[in-house]
Symmetry: C2
Subunit: 106 residues, 2 copies
């Protein structure tokens, strides 16, 4: 079973879960209220997020609060960072084109 951060954030529901608990730790039930799906489905997503350590649990009584654990996000950052300059350069080139057009209009 593949369990890496890239696969974890591939699902839009899981990205939404991350965004929610990054703001505030929540229980599965509280999370499920934000989505049009069952508590069990959210629980499954939480399990996947837990397995790749994007999320950690904190049990208080019978409730389990899920916290966001940002450390693993670094793997994603490390992957895209080498390309950052490429897309920023690209925008620079677009700016050049736009300014060229502007000049021609004069």
């Amino acid at each position: 079973m593949r369990r890496d951060v890239f696969q974890a954030i591939a699902d839009p529901t899981r990205r939404a879960i991350i965004a929610l608990i990054a703001m505030q730790a929540m229980t599965p039930n509280a999370l499920a209220e934000h989505f049009d799906t069952s508590r069990q489905a959210v629980s499954k997503h939480l399990r996947i997020l837990t397995e790749c350590q994007l999320v950690k649990q904190e049990q208080t009584g019978r409730e389990i609060y899920y916290h966001f654990n940002p450390g693993q996000m670094k793997a994603v950052a490390d992957f895209i960072e080498p390309f950052r300059q490429m897309w920023e350069t690209k925008f620079d080139q677009l700016d050049k084109v736009l300014s060229t057009i502007k000049k021609k209009k004069r």
Copy 2:
């Protein structure tokens, strides 16, 4: 059919393809030589990458060179950027713990 950048980079082979063609544009055959898989399988990955605009084609004769198109990567960067400070803070806290341990050893 879901075709977003997050789903595209979820597959390790596709991430490797991106890393390769980011260095230099390549044909499907040339790409396939780098992997333990068929040219057709690579072609399918390229199709997915093309559909979410992470890659663009340039036909010269009967060969098709695939170029990396970094623009869409920004979506991924935008998603993880809000968390950057969180994991960097985390590392700071780790540093604190480590330095505390160091002090105790003295």
